[in-house]
Amino acid sequence: METLTAIIAAMAIPMIAFISNLMHGDERPNLRDGITFIAALATFGCVLTVLMNEGSVIGSTHTIFTVISGLDVAFHVEPLGLLFALIASGLWVVVHMYAIGYMRGNKEKNHARFYAAFCLSISATIGIAFSANMFSLFLFYEILTIATYPLVAHKGTEEAKQGARVYVGTLLGTSIGFQLIAIIWTYTVAGTLDFTQGGILQGKVSPMLAMVLLGFFAFGIGKAALMPFHKWLPSAMVAPTPVSALLHAVAVVKAGVFTMLKVGVYIFGIDFLAETKASEWLMWLAAFSILAASLVAMTKDNLKARLAYSTVSQLSYITLGMALATSMGVIGGGLHIAMHAFGKITLFMCAGAIYVATHKTEIKQMTGLGRVMPFTYGAFFIGALSIIGLPPLGGSWSKWQLMVASADTGHLIMIGVLMLSSLLNVAYLLPIVAKGFFLTDEKNNAESGIREAPFWCVVPPVFTAIGCIALFIYAGDIQEFLMPLVEVK
């Protein structure tokens, strides 16, 4: 298959599944979910085809059509986007299996609408990953926001509605209020929005204005959950757990930090950022986000809320990587997209599995559960270690790279921030595991009939937990894969 065909197929197949879901409705659920599963596999296959065809290069741009001259909907292949597309489509396969188990095990309603919106979100995510210019990216970015809205509001309760309102309000608000201005501004000064190696703003804006423009971008990319625009992420946790797992640990938030990296590398250019020191303030803000969100996470007793704040903190690692304005930082940020995706999706799926099995959401209720749910808790433990950044798990490498980058640029204090953050991670993640394994409940869990979650809720997190270990071994390859991003032509 041609690369372009494969990209378009990777977006079209989820759309077909979207239509199939809507047509089947809630009749014949097995056929409906089966078709979606095949679609997920096929989508992943298409992205793999792109990988086979292109490998680790920055490919040429394919324009699909022109909206206004200078504003094209266009696609290209470059390592970071390809990595993102691989993660999103690959984990969709896993999460779809999990979602079937979760939605049925939990007797949720409106399955068809749920899966349909899921498919649409994946299609938009692939669009974001392969966008060749800021306009296309913005287009898919907005589609993703709107497509995920029904997922967040899925339960239809007052709480879900309120959460969804914050979600869509923050994301649309920041993207229109800041990002669109930044895009129009960029277009006005640079005359183009194409993602170009080395950036398009070099010499077009003064250092002072570059700083302001970067601010519009950084706050405009609400999906990156940079403080103070992070509130939507915990609000979105009212969504069913598969949504939190794929969309709010992988697709949506990663679309945010992915856009952040794209803007840093291809709009500003790392060298330009380094020269002008335009991103220095962003680095401090990211560091603040990392620590503050970790501290807030410690105060949360609701498991999903704790994981949400942990995500806010971890996303800022990637923003930090960009803001350090050095090639090592960008590579570290790119790596962290992959590492955090696997780690966090494991944690979320485990949280969901616990909920399906016990209907418990608060950490203080979860004492002794590890003994009756060993696989779920085992996977959780591995995921937690990867988020903390301990070897032999994937998360250790990205953190390592970011520390090297901090040392390179002379920001030794950032090393301290990252280390402190790891300690905080230990403090809010490991007690959950410890309580699960070592404490016993007054009421014996086994007697109250609590057993391991359904098969389809347990296998996916175990699988991604193994992925965390595999990533430790293959981190070098991913790093190699990302190198063209920072190589100077």
Binding site: I68, F138, L139, I143, V168, G169, I184
Partner: protein, 506 residues
């Protein structure tokens, strides 16, 4: 290139400028004469299809900047009445007749639901007269003729709005309000024209512009300008002259609201542009009288105040009506900037907003048909009962917000570009922020449709018939199509803007 034709024109093609208006005009009395409501609808529909075909043909003829000049009755202008079709008004004719052609199939069922059967023939008669009037206002090149057609369209509009009394008696007071304000507007307009005639001795727009070239200091001409702007401003519902609009849009029958929202104010804005840029010279209007500093602040005020008011409305029709006032603010902003790019942004927005609002009002009409009213608390959970209709509302709503990929984004992008060209940074940021207000009121409605638990009465509701759904979706798809493919709309708007600035392509 100037194409001239009169009654002596040999082919039917030469007669198109006249036929576009005369066909619906003659169809109107026929509706009443036949006295059958089905025939009346058919006549209205056919007349509007013909007008649409004629308008399309003319649009293709003038797309490259040519001008069609038609001499009524063979009398040479400036003595005789001239119909002068250039890109700008051909585009408007296309919009008005196109919207009418799409709305009429929808009207059949909606009118049957909202208006007594005995009044149907009269309804279609008035509709056709209103349609004729709007087409005439746009097509003609004669100032007094504009007034005549304006009155034809206004008088029939008053009747059409009052017909909403079947559903809600407040339609009568709204129609009365509009009658008073509309008459004041028309009177101001005709006083303005009278002054112009006094000073120049001509009523032909092109001729006026030539004769006024060196009369900038003339007090009469200046006073005429003020009268014309205020008079037309009332018809165009420029903030703060918009007070008739919310009531009229809210209580008029849904079809009327749809048609008026998509076309009537647009025709008035076109006339304003014609006078500001073709009859008077832009430098007279904007430099000598610093009109920029009157129009722009009012436009910004319109955008923010009307959007804010819209957020607090509980009646969907009224909400959209206030949103229209805000959108007219965007158009006036483009006029106030007075550059070629801002003018073409306004023209694009006329078109894009026309189709967007038509979708939204048609959807609301469908809700009225099923739920009996357009109050938000009667629409709980309708998204599930009327899935296609509600999906179209979401598309229209996104286009109103200006989300990329929809028509609304294009006009906003063009407008912001022209604002940036004028180096008004703060204004660009304000424009972007103003879209957020639209997010609030659209999202509020989407929540009602999709997230509220349906009431017991809602559960029995079915999707509206295909004859209503199809028009809704044609325009909903157009909202997306013109958001992705702008080649045609943008080039059209450019030619039209250039034509306007060159005084009608002399």
């Amino acid at each position: 290139m100037l194409h001239v034709a009169g009654v002596s024109g040999l082919t039917i093609i030469d007669q198109l400028p006249m036929l576009t208006i005369v066909v619906p005009m003659l169809a109107a009395p026929l509706c009443v004469l036949f006295g059958n409501r089905h025939i009346a609808w058919l006549l209205a529909f056919l007349a509007s299809v013909f007008s649409f075909l004629f308008a399309t043909h003319m649009l293709l003829q003038v797309m490259d900047g040519d001008v069609l000049s038609y001499h009524m009755g063979g009398w040479e202008p400036p003595l005789g009445i001239e119909y002068r079709i250039d890109a700008a008004n051909a585009f408007m004719l296309f919009l008005i007749s196109g919207i009418s052609t799409i709305v009429l199939p929808y009207a059949r069922r909606s009118v049957a639901h909202e208006i007594k059967k005995v009044s149907h023939t009269l309804f279609y008669c008035c509709y056709l007269l209103c349609f004729t009037g709007l087409l005439g206002v746009v097509a003609t090149g004669d100032a007094f003729n504009i007034f005549v057609f304006l009155e034809i369209s206004s008088l029939s509009t008053y009747v059409l709005i009052a017909m909403g009394a079947e559903r809600d008696r407040r339609a009568l007071t709204s129609a009365y309000d509009y009658l008073i304000l509309g008459t004041i507007g028309a009177t101001f307009f005709v006083i303005g024209i009278g002054f112009l005639y006094m000073a120049t001795g001509t009523l032909n727009l092109a001729d006026l512009s030539v004769r006024m070239a060196n009369m900038e200091g003339n007090r009469t001409i200046q006073a005429a300008f003020a009268f014309i702007i205020v008079g037309m401003g009332l018809k165009a519902a420029i903030y703060p002259l918009h007070l008739w609009l919310p009531g009229a849009y809210t209580y008029a029958p849904s079809v009327v609201t749809t048609f008026l929202a998509a076309t009537a104010t647009k025709a008035a804005i076109y006339v304003l542009m014609r006078f500001m840029f073709s009859v008077y010279q832009p430098d007279f209007v904007f430099e000598l009288h610093t009109l920029t500093w009157i129009i722009m602040p009012l436009a910004i005020l319109a955008i923010f105040a009307a959007s804010l008011i819209a957020i607090f409305q509980t009646d969907l029709k009224r909400l959209l009506a206030y949103s229209s006032v805000a959108q007219i603010g965007y158009m006036m902003l483009g006029i106030g900037l007075a550059s070629k790019s801002s003018l073409s942004a306004t023209i694009v927005h006329l078109f894009n907003h026309g189709i967007t609002k038509a979708v939204l009002f048609m959807v609301v009409g469908a809700y009225v048909m099923r739920a009996g009213s357009s109050f938000a608390n009667n629409l709980n959970g309708l998204g599930k009962q009327l899935p296609w209709t509600s999906a179209a509302f979401v598309i229209g709503g996104l286009s109103l917000i200006g989300v990329p990929g929809t028509a609304g984004f294009i006009s906003k992008w063009m407008l912001i570009q022209s604002v940036l060209e004028a180096d008004l940074w703060w204004l660009a940021i304000m424009l972007v922020i103003s879209s957020l207000l639209a997010v609030i009121y659209i999202w509020k409605t989407v929540e009602v449709l999709y997230l509220k638990e349906p009431d017991v009465s809602t559960l029995a509701m079915k999707e509206v018939p295909l004859s209503m759904l199809l028009p809704i979706w044609i325009l909903a798809i157009a909202c997306i199509y013109f958001g992705l493919n702008t080649e045609w709309t943008l080039s059209m708007a450019d030619v039209a803007a250039e034509g306007l600035l060159n005084g009608g392509g002399k």
